[in-house]
Every structure is written in structure tokens, then in C-alpha cells.
């Protein structure tokens, strides 16, 4: 129960890292020529989409032993969609590291500007941690209600 709250909190925190980088780039404190553009947002968007995909799968269908829905390959299809979601999530993290390296580290920028890339990495990693926490919590809760129903 508490981990669902924590998951929402981590999600908000990771969103605010990227928003902070974007608004810092527009503020008066940014003395460099670098600005946060749409490229910096793409990894976060991928990670959030992956989180949506993962959490919209009904977890009882992953086991493959549910009789309620017809069709042979339901569990297989659900696992494919799940793989797609995890790939989006990991792709978001990898993409944010790519943006950090290619856009900021390779051009030898100093610290206040380097934060734009680091914030992107923190954001994607935070979305990943949040969805992992939510996944574990919901699986535990499902187990609990199952035992209760029996």
C-alpha cells in the first residue's frame, strides 16, 4: 500500500527533474548557448509510454492458465506486449544516456549546463523505478486478494 504512494512520488520527482532542466534552460541563470529542446524530452516520453503499456496489461493473463478469455495465444500475446513495454522503458533510459553523451558530454560543457543531460537520465531512471515499484506492489496485492478469496 505504501509502495503505491512511493511509486507516484517517484514518478512526480522524475517528471520534475526534466521540467526543472527545461525551465532552468529558459531562465536567466543559464549563461550558455545550450538549450533544452524536444530531443531532451523524447526519452522521457518513451519511458512514460512504456510505463502505460506495462500497467495496462491484466496480470492474470500472463500466466496462461486463465479460462475466461477464448483464444489460444492470449498469454503469448500478453507477454509480447509486456516485452514491448519493457523495451520502451529501457529504450527511454538508453536514449537519455545517449542524449547526455552526444549532446552534452562530447562537447565539453561545464556543470550548470551538464545538468540538462543528467536530469534527463534521472527522469528516465525514475520512471523505470516507479513502474518497477508499482509492478511489485500490485503483484503482491493480487496474491493477497487471491488468498483472501480462497
Amino acid at each position: 500500500m505504501a509502495s503505491v504512494y512511493a511509486s507516484g512520488g517517484i514518478f512526480a520527482l522524475s517528471l520534475f527533474f526534466v521540467i526543472d532542466a527545461a525551465s532552468f534552460s529558459r531562465s536567466n541563470l543559464n549563461a550558455s548557448d545550450f538549450h533544452v529542446t524536444f530531443v531532451d524530452w523524447i526519452p522521457l516520453i518513451c519511458a512514460v509510454l512504456g510505463m502505460l503499456v506495462i500497467n495496462s496489461i491484466d496480470k492474470t493473463r500472463l500466466g496462461g492458465d486463465s479460462f475466461s478469455y477464448s483464444g489460444n495465444g492470449v498469454a503469448w500475446k500478453a507477454r509480447l506486449i509486456l516485452f514491448l513495454g519493457f523495451a520502451l522503458l529501457a529504450g527511454g533510459l538508453a536514449g537519455s544516456i545517449t542524449v547526455l553523451v552526444l549532446k552534452y558530454v562530447m562537447r565539453d560543457v561545464g556543470w550548470p549546463t551538464l545538468w540538462f543531460g543528467v536530469a534527463g537520465v534521472f527522469g528516465s531512471a525514475g520512471v523505470m523505478a516507479s513502474s518497477t515499484l508499482l509492478w511489485v506492489a500490485q503483484n503482491m496485492e493480487d496474491e493477497y486478494t487471491y488468498n483472501l478469496a480462497l
Binding site: 500500500m1 503505491v4 507516484g8 512520488g9 512526480a12 520534475f16 526543472d20 531562465s27 508499482l134
Partner: protein
């Protein structure tokens, strides 16, 4: 909960007033009213929990499908609480507000949210079936 007397109400209203005082001072001292957004965040924060709890009550024993809605409410509540802390920090980091205003608005917002939470804990009506 046990009997919540008059003293609890008085103490809670004092804490709420101090919280509002801190947030309003943090806005008015520097003539920068961005920190008032914290109050909005913390007032909105308990709402998803209440709404989703009420929505899940109806079919709780029928098919157990209400757990997802309750989880969504908790997720959104956690989201708003952390937003209330992170937003002043963002403003201070980007030079929009003073850092003293940040500290005052965070403490004031936490006091307001704590008041709301403890009020619902003390004065929760017991459900009857």
C-alpha cells in the same frame, strides 16, 4: 478513532492557520505569488484517494475489480504530495523565487497537508453495513 475532542479541533486549526501564514508570507514578502500554487497542490492531493475509495466501494465484494481504482488514487495522491515539495524547489533552482521563500512555502504546505490528513483520521465516520 477515539473521541476527538474540542482540543483537537483547536490545535488543528492553529496548525492550519500557521501553515497558511507561512505560505502567504512566503508569497507576499517578496511580492512573488508563485508559491501560492503549493496550497492548491496540497488541497487537491487528498481528493483522488477519497474519490477512488468511494468509487471502489460499490463493487468491492462483487468481483474485486476495484483494487485498480484504489491504486490509481494512491498513485495520484503520492504524485501531488511530491509535486508540492518539488515545485518550490524547482522555482528556487531556476531563480524564480528566493530560497527562503522556498523553505517557508514547503514547511507551510506540509503543515496544511498534515492538518488535512490528521483531520480525516480523527473525524472519520465509521462505516456501517
Amino acid at each position: 478513532m477515539a473521541l476527538a475532542g474540542l482540543k483537537t479541533i483547536i490545535a488543528l486549526s492553529f496548525v492550519l492557520a500557521i501553515g497558511f501564514l507561512l505560505v502567504i508570507l512566503s508569497a507576499a514578502l517578496w511580492k512573488n505569488y508563485l508559491t501560492l500554487l503549493v496550497v492548491l497542490t496540497y488541497v487537491v492531493a487528498p481528493l483522488p484517494n477519497w474519490l477512488c475509495g468511494r468509487a471502489a466501494n460499490y463493487d468491492d465484494f462483487v468481483d474485486g475489480g476495484g483494487a485498480g481504482v484504489v491504486d490509481l488514487g494512491r498513485f495520484l495522491t503520492g504524485f501531488f504530495v511530491v509535486t508540492g515539495i518539488a515545485m518550490p524547489a524547482l522555482f528556487a533552482h531556476c531563480g524564480l523565487i528566493n530560497s527562503a521563500a522556498m523553505v517557508m512555502s514547503i514547511i507551510g504546505g506540509l503543515l496544511i497537508y498534515g492538518t488535512i490528513i490528521s483531520f480525516t483520521m480523527f473525524f472519520q465516520e465509521e462505516e456501517e453495513f
